[in-house]
Amino acid sequence: MKSNTLYLYLKKHFVAGFITFIILLFIAQYIAYQQYLINKNEQKKEITNEVNLVKEKLQALVMYNYSATKSLAYIIERNGIPPDFESIAIDLLERHDYFDAVELVDSNGVITHVYPQKDNEVIGFNIMSSNVASRGALTTIKRKDFFIAGPVNLKQGGVGMISRQPIFIDDKFAGFSAVVIKLSTFFNDLNINYENDSRFDYQISRVNKKTGKEDFFLENDMSSFEEFAVPIEMSFGEWRLYVVPKHNTIKSVIWFVVIGFMIAIVGGWIVWLLNGQSERYSNLISVKLTKQESELKSIHEITRDRIKKSESNLKRAQHIASLGSWELDIEMNKLTWSAEMFRIFEKDSKKFEVTQQRFYDAIHPDDRSLVIKLITDSIMNKKPYQITYRLLFDKNRIKYVDEHCEIFYDENQIPKKFFGTLQDVTVRIVNEKELLNYKNNLENLVSLRTEELNDSKEALLNLLEDINYQSIELEKEKIKAQSADLMKSAFLATMSHELRTPMNSIIGFTGILSKELAGPLNEEQKKQLAMVKNSGEHLLGLINDILDISKIEAGKLKVSFYPFDYLTSLEKTIAFLLPQASAKGLKMITEITEMHITLISDERRVEQILLNLLSNAIKFSTKGTILIKVGVKDNLLITQIIDQGIGISNDDIIKLFMLFIQIEGGLSRNHEGTGLGLAICKNLIEKLGGTIQVESQLGIGSNFTFKLPLENAKNK
């Protein structure tokens, strides 16, 4: 169905458009045709003018030629060939400025005289030598009359016509007088550029009497323009003049045709489009109208349903809220009650007839006069009212009701109707009374508690003051403790450094003495000096540890990262400790997976860690081997130092890395050292971005494993 409408719609508008197109096309083509006719007419006029111009000139030329040649022939017939031929010729040429040359020909047809001689080297030329020329000449002689020969290819160049007048002396042919005219001179005189005219092509021809064939003066081919030929009758035969327009008139109106066609197409298309558009709009409007109509219809139905529903809802709501409504028509003095009113007043709506008096009777006697007064006042003052009062039922049962009333007026502001509501509020009033009792009780209770709270608050404030005072004291203590701690660290750092300087002397000079540079020593002196040296080195070690720990505590331990060869550091440390290990009968074995390890870390600190862990292993072993395993995994350098020494119990492992703690030593002090070594190690390793772990079994041995990053991330 949809496609069908589309088809109709298309068809209808297409037809309108097409008809417009046809009409416009017809009009355009008609205009083009009229234009064509006008153009053609004008052209025809132009051609006629042009033809007449040329024709007149040609005829005049023939006349001039005749008179010129005739007068020359006359002179010769009378006096023979004049000796002043040149001056006669000049005179002729001056008189007719389109004569190009004047010639004399003798009886044999040989040119004897010519003027001007310049560019005309024709003297001695026999005009009879060419067949056509001779024929013309002979005819002339025979007829004894003037003759124009042409077209002639002139000896001096170009095409021309030669007018010849036969000369007879004593009736005997004695030659020709002749005038030569170049075609170009002729046309120039007419102001026509015959070779390249913008408007016309020209042609002149003479018709051969016998054959009817034409001899053309110019090169233009005129075979297809016969219609333009204009005959010119001469005494010596027929010439024809052609003036052919260069521009086809059809061409001049082709734009009219094309533009007209385009206008027709555009016009047709616009009509088609506009027509379609208007129908589309009217369709759209009718669709919208239908839609709105059906919407209105459905709204109407919905509204009707809603009204019905809200009526029943109202009834139900009145019932639920125990809210009745009443209406009093003043003119009719008629009171009407809603169903709920009857329920509140406990009357049967079918049997009980409502009147104002009956309504008043139901009111509690104590409230009745008040209600009546209010209603009366309201009628008097034309003002709505609101009142809560009691209804009295049998057995002194009471109901509280809440009544609201509004008044409706007619156009003269005279009260017409009272409309009121009446709600059973018994439950609410009873509840409110109870609540009021509760509230009174509560207020008493609250004032009592408030007093108690005030007492407590005072006590708390006192307490708070005490606490504040104490916390200030604590803060003071804390600052004191902190500064004492800092002072301790600074003191330790300075002292350790001051202690190291004399140690340099002690160890240095002991060494010098042992070298016997100052003189030979006996065995006892050597032994004692060795003891001094050992003690000195031990003392220096202790001082160094204290220095490090004080720096760690003060947070001043600094490390710097440079690349170095880790295996060289390890070898150096092992070589240094080898004498101690050998002295205790311990072997040191290495297991290294890499050929070469470049570590970017603090070289001195790494060596310190190795020295510490390895000397610990030696210190706490009495037998077996110390195995040093080195490997690289995930950009981490992993070093394990495994001994077969006394080992550490699980309880002690926790305390292992704490400051000043030497496991076991706390009691027996079998082992020398400050107990700072492992704590320093742990701190250094962490500072270098690594970790340290220990696994141990009491009496079997320990495995200290530390891992360091090959390249410190901070220094990448």
Partner: protein, 128 residues
């Protein structure tokens, strides 16, 4: 070993005992020793005597060893002069700082009398 063969050495060191120790060790090895107890004297003596080796303590009262190294290198000291830093205050990076300041080598305190002269000579040989 003849006296004339050994090069001259300038020691810049503020501690008298250490100065004595170094002088004693080096003279025993037939070196000609020039001594300065502070940086200013050290720079002056280096300029006047053109020692072949200069030993510098890093901690001095008037200027630190790094500064002396830098000044020596900038004040027309012959290029082949060997500068060696000697210090007990071996923190991380001290060695690198000394080299950056223009020293050719570094020997840590306390010195080991058995190896000190060898250490010094090997730095000097490596430099030239």
């Amino acid at each position: 070993m003849t006296n004339n063969m050994k090069p001259s050495i300038l020691i810049i060191e503020d501690n008298e005992q250490n100065m004595y120790m170094l002088t004693y060790l080096l003279e025993k090895s037939n070196y000609k020793v020039i001594i300065a107890y502070n940086g200013i004297d050290g720079l002056k003596l280096a300029h006047e005597n053109h020692p072949e080796i200069i030993l510098i303590d890093i901690q001095l009262p008037d200027m630190d060893g790094y500064e002396i190294c830098a000044k020596l290198r900038h004040n027309g000291l012959p290029k082949n002069t060997t500068i060696i830093a000697v210090t007990s205050y071996a923190m991380g990076g001290d060695k690198e700082k000394a080299i950056e300041a223009g020293a050719d080598g570094y020997i840590e305190k306390p010195i080991n009398p058995d190896t000190f002269v060898n250490q010094m000579e090997s730095i000097h040989v490596a430099k030239n």
